[in-house]
């Protein structure tokens, strides 16, 4: 197993940090400062991203900041593992939330996940700008495309 594959499999987001952790965490945050501090902290859990993977092919278009996405399909478990990178901290945090919901699932389970429902539960869109919302949708879109491609292969 390569070091990069290890990074995929050891990603804590969606494994050690679960959707419940995030939902519980959000429940007790009242003001914007706590909310963003929580999001920024989640972003710090993103595993390091391989430099050589910051290519045009892996670039997620439609975000205000630079965002890259790569995946690894583990044939043994049939699960899809994801890594996201961004140069903006809030985007890293939002990417972490997406990974908590979608990382390490079978492509079929991933495609069946209603991410909009999660965003609504977290009340995320009310607190981020429409441009930022578009960036979130762009990330989710690219992940879903990837899952659909892997599922069809």
């Amino acid at each position: 197993m390569t070091a990069c594959e290890q990074t995929f499999l050891n990603n804590p987001l969606g494994k050690d940090t679960t959707l419940e952790d995030v939902l519980d965490g959000f429940e007790f945050l009242d003001d914007w400062e706590e909310r963003y501090a929580f999001i920024i902290d989640l972003g710090k859990q993103l595993p390091s991203f391989p430099d050589e993977a910051r290519t045009e092919e892996n670039y997620v278009h439609g975000c205000q900041s630079q965002v890259w996405l790569i995946h690894h399909y583990d044939e043994e478990s049939g699960k899809l593992f994801l890594l996201i990178d961004s140069d903006a901290m809030i985007v890293r945090g939002l990417a972490a939330i997406i990974l908590v919901a979608l990382n390490g699932k079978t492509p079929r389970d991933l495609l069946a996940t209603d991410i909009d429902e999660l965003f609504e539960k977290l009340d995320l869109f009310r607190h981020i700008s429409p441009t930022r919302g578009n960036g979130l949708r762009a990330m989710v879109g690219k992940i879903r495309d990837t899952a659909a491609r892997v599922a069809a292969a």
């Binding site: 914007w32 963003y36 900041s65 140069d87 901290m89 809030i90 607190h127 700008s129």
Partner: protein, 417 residues
């Protein structure tokens, strides 16, 4: 110099920012539970009641198509519309309203000129722009360069964000046909010495276009004193409505240029054998124009005319001075663009923080700024940054708002610590 500053101080006391803010109803709202602090004037400025009322009144009392109807409303609309053109002429000190063309904005005005001058260009000709241009003053030239074989050449800038005059002097040569340069930089706030540049260019028979989009909110340009061939600006940055802008062009050059778009209004006579063009300025105004917007822009200029422009400049300078003083209260903050002669525009970066993070967290505190590349990617490349955060002030901003910006920036920094 001393006399001038005394005069300014005297006028400053007469400048009542609270009264001025009451002219801009949008400013007195809350955003994210905080009083709005609007510092994105460089992207688009807010509109005074005088503009809103003029447009409302136009639609309620006089709307009809212009230059056409054989009826009273048509006459009223035409009088209001052409009255606005005269207001713009006076604002720019142009020689004649024939030289004032309505466009959708600065971008369309530059495209119009670029296309109009294209027939005069041949391979090897050079179009001189600068490293600090907005994409609107780069891309239209690149497009006609591709068509004609001409070349777009950028004048270099200094690390402070001033035009490098040595670079200008070395690049202005016998192949240069057009100088298209910004009066004021949208990112850096730099005020370029355009009168001198135009003079040098003209001495070599080079045509000159000045992009005034960021200049007109702060200065009243005099196109005859500047002696430029073209001057362009957008209404919405000048406290007027969106969707309209102005191209000033020297009449003789406009006469020589082919029309930009074909359609109604811009023709004298149409037949399948031969169509002839209308006279200036209508030759360049195909289709029904943005009539209410023209009226609104006229009202904006008249509103500004009622204010003491010298006092506004002094107030704006005070805002920028205060901002510059406070930079040291935010560790790691660095201003991008430190030209000697600046409008109150402050681009900055903060070590370790992405501009979009700064913008998002300022918005949470009710403060609106712009983040990103500001449609000036070559300039971002020059400074080696993906983007900047930019606070751009208008005369209705207060010193207290400048202080709030810095308090908010300190808070942002604490959050990321």
């Amino acid at each position: 110099m001393t006399d001038l500053s005394v005069a300014n101080t005297a006028k400053k006391t007469a400048f009542d920012v609270d009264a001025i803010r009451r002219d801009f109803p949008i400013l007195s709202q809350q955003v994210n539970g905080k009083p709005l602090v609007y510092l994105d004037n460089g992207a688009s400025a807010q509109k005074p009641v005088a503009v809103l009322d003029a447009m409302d009144r136009y639609y309620r009392e006089m709307h009809s198509n212009v230059h056409r109807g054989a009826h009273t409303l048509g006459d009223r609309a035409t009088v209001a519309f052409e009255g606005a053109r005269e207001t713009v002429r006076e604002f720019l000190n142009a020689d004649s309203t024939r030289e004032i063309i309505w466009t959708r904005g600065t971008t369309e005005a530059i495209n119009l000129v670029a296309n109009g001058l294209a027939p005069q260009l041949k391979p090897g000709d050079e179009i001189l722009v600068s490293q600090m241009e907005h994409h609107a003053n780069i891309v239209p030239w690149q497009m006609i360069a591709e068509r004609t074989g001409a070349k777009v050449v950028p004048v270099q800038i200094t690390p402070e964000g001033e035009l490098d005059l040595e670079s200008f002097n070395s690049l202005l040569n016998d192949r240069t046909r057009i100088l298209a340069i910004t009066h004021v930089s949208n990112v850096l706030g730099t005020v370029n010495p355009v009168a001198a540049l135009v003079q040098q260019a003209k001495a070599r028979g080079v045509l000159t276009l000045l992009d005034g989009a960021q200049a007109v909110p702060h200065y009243r340009p005099d196109v005859q004193a500047l002696d430029c061939d073209f001057y362009v600006f957008s209404s919405h940055k000048l406290f007027g409505p969106t969707g309209i802008g102005v191209l000033y062009g020297r009449a003789q050059l406009l006469e020589e240029m082919p029309p930009y778009q074909g359609g109604g209004e811009m023709i004298e006579r149409v037949s399948f054998e031969r169509t002839t063009w209308n006279t200036l300025p209508y030759k360049f105004e195909a289709g029904t124009p943005a009539i209410a917007e023209a009226v609104g822009l006229g009202a904006a200029i008249e509103y500004l005319g009622r204010l003491d422009r010298r006092a506004l400049e002094t107030a704006e300078k005070a805002l920028l001075d205060r901002a510059n003083q406070l930079v040291e209260t935010v560790p790691g903050m660095e201003i991008i663009g430190t030209a000697k002669h600046k409008v109150p525009v402050m681009s900055f970066k903060i070590a370790g923080l992405h501009p979009s993070d700064i913008g998002t967290l300022l918005d949470q505190q009710g403060i609106a700024i712009r983040t990103g590349h500001h449609c000036a990617m070559p300039l971002m490349d020059f400074y080696g940054v993906p983007g900047t955060a930019r606070a751009s002030f208008a005369f209705y901003n207060t010193l207290d708002e400048v202080e709030q910006l810095f308090t908010a920036l300190q808070k942002v920094q604490r959050l990321f610590a």
